[in-house]
Symmetry: C2
Subunit: 265 residues, 2 copies
């Protein structure tokens, strides 16, 4: 019999929609075949896979991969799937996953040439989008620092479009410690700021973007905390050629990260 919304394992998994439960258990939810596939591609990440009978049939390769890795695969009713998923169309699959963040020191020890640091980004969609863009630009690590949203927030996981499973994800309470550690690891630390004294194009022209770099990004509404921006090696503005007063966070991060990616190649 497929599990229902009242089956204890479904009830327990559903609690992972809450941050407190994620912190207490070290687990989170990934929904939809794309995210489940990415999660299954990492060893010891998926703890349990829930799917409707239809979905487990349609994505039989994923069910087989899970079973082959000794991951329990459980049939659930449509109602149970709807209770576990946060989107309207999760395509029948939800996986319970282990947290996958690594310590900052471990991520830096791998000598990343490009790192994105999210400092105080509370909007999960923005954080997930920057994570996705950082992955696309070739960043090896993304640091969720300070008051930034939990990387395992469902909306952040979904906005990352699988990139949560691709890069070294780091969580660090103290953004200043991230700046210090990144610099000690030989990275240039650049703060993205609409009011920065350095123009992104000019930095590219003089070759300053070619070095291994950690970019700091703050919240769309408030920007980076002043002390943190001051701690960076430079505060960098994306040039505004037209009359827009600013770029939104996703656009600014994309331009900065891709400028570094291009300069490093």
């Amino acid at each position: 019999m497929p599990f229902t919304p009242r089956t204890p394992r479904v009830v327990a998994a559903r609690r992972l929609q809450r941050r407190r439960e994620r912190e207490a258990t070290g687990r989170f939810l990934a929904e939809g075949p794309q995210a489940v596939r990415e999660a299954l591609s990492r060893p010891r990440t998926v703890v349990e896979l829930f799917g409707t009978p239809d979905a487990l049939d349609r994505y039989a390769d994923l069910a087989a991969t899970a079973a082959g890795a000794d991951v329990p695969v459980s049939e659930v009713t449509d109602e149970a799937l709807a209770a576990l998923a946060e989107t309207v169309a999760p395509q029948g699959l939800v996986a319970v996953c282990q947290h996958l963040d690594v310590p900052l020191a471990a991520a830096l020890a791998r000598h990343p040439r490009l790192v994105a640091v999210l400092a105080g980004i509370r909007d999960p969609g923005n954080a997930g989008t920057v994570l996705r863009t950082a992955d696309a630009a070739g960043a090896a690590a993304v640091v969720f620092a300070g008051e930034t949203v939990d990387p395992y927030n469902g909306k952040c996981v979904r906005a990352s479009a699988g990139s949560l499973f691709h890069v070294d994800v780091v969580r660090e309470r103290d953004p200043a410690a991230v700046v210090a550690a990144a610099r000690a690891a030989g990275l240039v630390v650049l703060a993205a700021s609409g009011y920065g004294e350095a123009d992104l194009d000019e930095l590219a022209d003089v070759g300053r973007l070619a070095a291994p770099t950690a970019w700091l990004f703050g919240s769309e509404a408030h920007g980076l905390p002043g002390e943190l921006a001051e701690a960076a090696d430079a505060r960098v503005r994306v040039p505004l050629h037209g009359r827009a007063e600013s770029l939104n966070l996703a656009a600014a991060a994309a331009v900065c990260l891709y400028a570094s990616a291009r300069a490093q190649r």
Copy 2:
């Protein structure tokens, strides 16, 4: 006495939240002091300004500008303002504005060096964000083509963060006509496509981004229609250096438009 939600002029203005009413009247709503200021900076754009007594006091300069331009300024109750506004915190001001799009031929006659063409972008937040980014990158015109959302949709107006009032906005039903007209006006037409045969960095390296350019952007979910992409001079992909399968629309548009902006300077 301030107008209430039942005052006929408030009722009439509120109807502009619906596309059909916007089309029938050629008017739309702009809310919040930033958008109202931008709208007032354009001649003959604002038709009427509604504000709570508090807001008209706090933004007395805007009320004075409106009055000086013979724009009726009407006090409304908090309830009437809430009925007119679509956001929770509109800061007390809503303006009724005239549509401001210009014909495609008029926009092209001004010899823009950078144009963004939105083809089939139905999500108003995405369309408004690309409009904002295009303005920031120095695009002089943004074309809403084909099945793209109405530029005067409230969410699009808000996501544009004032840029709707900065650039030449064009509406054109037939995207193929936009490609033909842009090319006839001497613009290189580039289609942003995750599956494009040309790499953005390589185009930059060989100097192909320095020419006046019209960029075509399709919907996040479906990309550009195949025929439209084929009609462009090249289909261009943003390089994916990491393991992300794609960029979201706002990020891809930002990277493409800024690559052109940089090459043109």
